[in-house]
Amino acid sequence: MYELNYDPQICAKCKTCDCLMKCQYIDFELAEARVEKEKLLNGQDTRILQECTTCYSCEEYCPAGNHPFYQIVERQEEKGFLPVPEPITKQQLTMMEPRGTITPASVSAPVINMCYFPMLTDSIRGKLYENTSMIVGSDIFCNIMWLHFGKNSAIRERLPRMIDNIQQFYLKDSGVEEVVCYHDECYGAYTQLAPAFGIEVPFKVVHLFEYLSNKLDELSDQITPINAKVAYQRPCSNRLIPQTQHWVDDIFQKIGADRVPREYDRDNALCCGQVLRAQQRDDLADDVQKRNLDDMQQAGVAYCVFNCPVCMFTLADAVAERGIFPILMSDLCQAAVEKKAE
């Protein structure tokens, strides 16, 4: 059940091995990449399984959309190559498990899906979110994070239940057919991962940034431009949905924020480091964070803008120490709108 839509023949015939050659964290010569890819295809041990940082990026790099990353995670689980020590994985599985406390509630569109980030629900306020409904909690957690833990089995087990919860407890009886996903993880889970695993999603999803972009159009006469240089910390889950990247530029343009060119942005974005620390790779996390922060500082940005709350929790202090203000995209938009309101 929920078989991964992965075609080994596509990989077998692939000459470029973009999934490996473009990897920012493992260095390959093309010849070696082909060898390691063969091992992966044949179910053999390979350094790919051991060194993969689970950054999701190869999902973006594969020109055939063949889901190489999901296949790597399948193999990690099959062969017991845990990216994260087992006790930590078990703790996380318990910590994030559905509590089964969800109760039916009437909602009205637009419905903002806050996933399992109850600490961020205060962000859903003001003119940007007038007349919205909000859903949040462990029982609607998208569970995509298990890709970092070599646990596709947890996604297979939990994601369908979460989708069903959203539909049955909130949307169905309310006559609502669409949710706005606050986090890239949810949007990626419902639009890219679920189809890859053959998991049906009975509702439509909208990315938060599309929603914000439209709201900013509605409120355009109330926007006070930010007039500041900004850096954007692209999250790993956006690698599943690169087609949404343009919304970031659209929003920045609408609120007068200048996304200055820098080395580690867009396709070359770096991991926030949290997953690397879970993998006990502090040296790599230190290096990645330093390069990223140096890059932001050299670009002279005033704000580091996040969409992923985990990226923000991880980098906020370090960003602030560099004199850069850490802020969620939603809150930056609020600031642009509310400034004028004041």
């Binding site: 845990l82 994260v84 020590p85 087992e86 006790p87 930590i88 078990k90 703790q91 996380q92 318990t94 910590m95 949290q274 997953v275 620390r277 879970a278 006990q280 502090d282 040296d283 230190d286 985990v310 929790f313 991880t314 906020a316 202090d317």
Partner: protein, 459 residues
């Protein structure tokens, strides 16, 4: 009794002595499970001279005297088991001196942990003292007397190891200084003189009243961090702790095992706290600590929990406020624990004992340990919460405490700040000649037997 009351009034003033039922009730108990014992008088002296006069009076009339700090010991050591005077030291709370260069503080016996912490933060930000995970009202003297431990104990041992000297009033009224202060104006050390401070450490207030003490202070690092290492097998813990301590990078090394929240159940956590004056030094220390347990990490059977800075804050707090949450988990404010000083070798056995007792007696529990010195020993604690308003719940906790004390002694550990019944368990196993020596010493120091009677006694 009226004559005694009047005599006490003449010593400390009307406002600072009471024989009224309200005060006697309030001073009859502490937050633990030990039954209330009312004193006849509560007295609050303001000076060594007043303490001396109270003791002379008590000695003359053979009135028991129980010295009291903040009354937070939990094991009922400051209850008036045989009536008499509770000598509440809270008015004597002056911070007399901080010697920055020789890193010590001289305080009165009623000075609290919080007061010194705040004072140092304001006036000597480069220094800190080792604070226990007790409410800030807990006194420094009280914690030193009971061989307490705190946030620098992994690096520097028990709080009694950090003691430089004492001023004590003997039960017969002599005021005596012990340590360098006996010979010098400086309170820098207990060496090289004969170390008589031990006559007042671990005795549960049965040998005299401490009025002043000097404790060592330590560098207050600009940057601090904590790692939380987790595994599932208690048998690994001694080696994990040994390896971490071998680096000598940590100031504090503690373990915690708790059934709540659900994600923590069944896992063994080791918190390792370390500090540095630069970020580079901090990372260097982190890397050494990490390298020490890399074998377990590489085998994927243990690892450090990834924590953003905000999540680390509760683990960096001194004292750790989150402990108080468990203290009220049953509601009703009842909380007591058995802290057993024992070798780290016994970690797995001690852990299994806690689980077995909690399961058998159906008590809410939390287990943990503070490593004292670089694995030289540990204070393994078995904490039981109970609802004070529910007698059955209190009784369950009492049974658990008794069972734990008995089993811990049999295992080779020694209950710390032991309740009077647990003291008897210890004496049961103690070298009889040591107990005889204790009694001979007490007979010399306290011929009238007035100091905290009922403690360190057989029956």
């Amino acid at each position: 009794m009226k004559e005694i009351l009047q005599a006490l009034v003449e010593i400390v003033g009307t406002e600072f002595v009471s024989d009224q039922p309200e005060e006697r009730y309030l001073y009859s108990m502490d937050p633990g499970t030990m039954p209330a014992r009312e004193p006849d008088f509560v007295v609050m002296p303001d000076s060594t001279e007043q303490v001396r006069q109270v003791l002379l009076l008590a000695n003359q009339h053979k009135i028991p005297v129980v010295p009291l700090g903040a009354g937070l010991v939990l094991s009922g050591l400051s209850r008036a088991l045989k009536g008499g005077i509770i000598l509440d030291m809270k008015r004597m709370n002056r911070i007399i001196e901080v010697n920055e260069m020789s890193r010590y503080a001289l305080v009165e016996a009623g000075a609290s942990q919080g007061m010194l912490q705040a004072y140092l933060k304001k006036h000597h930000p480069r220094l800190k003292h080792s604070a226990p995970d007790a409410p800030p009202a807990a006194t420094i003297a009280g914690n030193v007397c009971i061989h307490g431990s705190g946030h620098i104990s992994h690096a520097h041992g028990f709080h009694s190891d950090m003691l430089n000297g004492l001023e004590v009033v003997l039960p017969t009224g002599e005021v005596t200084r012990l340590g360098s202060c006996a010979t010098s104006d400086y309170w820098f050390s207990r060496a090289p003189l004969p170390d008589l401070a031990g006559l007042f450490l671990g005795w549960a207030g049965t040998t005299g009243v401490i009025t002043k003490l000097a404790i060592k202070l330590y560098p207050n690092y600009r940057f601090n961090d904590v790692g939380v290492f987790v595994c599932e097998d208690a048998r690994l813990m001694p080696d994990i702790l040994y390896r971490m301590s071998e680096t000598q990078m940590a100031e504090d090394l503690t373990a915690w095992m708790t059934p709540k929240p659900d994600w923590a159940r069944g896992f063994l956590h080791s918190n390792i706290n370390y500090g540095a004056n630069t970020k580079e030094e901090l990372i260097w220390k982190r890397n050494l600590i990490r390298a020490s347990v890399s074998e377990y990490i590489d085998r994927k059977i243990a690892g450090f929990i990834p924590m953003p800075a905000a999540m680390k804050q509760p683990f960096l707090e001194v004292p750790a406020r989150q402990l108080s949450r468990f203290a009220d988990v049953r509601k009703g404010g009842g909380f007591e624990y058995v802290g057993v000083i024992m070798p780290v070798d016994l970690f797995a056995e001690a852990y299994e004992l806690g689980l077995e007792i909690a399961s058998r007696l159906s008590v809410s529990y939390s287990l943990g340990a503070r490593i004292i010195g670089i694995n030289h020993c540990m204070m393994f604690f078995y904490a039981y919460a109970f609802n004070r308003a529910d007698p059955a719940d209190v009784q369950r906790a009492q049974r658990a405490l008794e069972a734990t004390n008995r089993a811990a002694v049999d295992m080779g550990g020694i209950p710390w700040k032991a309740e009077a019944p647990a003291q008897k368990e210890i004496i049961r196993k103690m070298d009889p000649n040591m107990f005889a020596l204790m009694n001979r010493i007490r007979a010399v120091l306290d011929p009238a037997g007035i100091m905290n009677p009922g403690n360190w006694e057989i029956d």
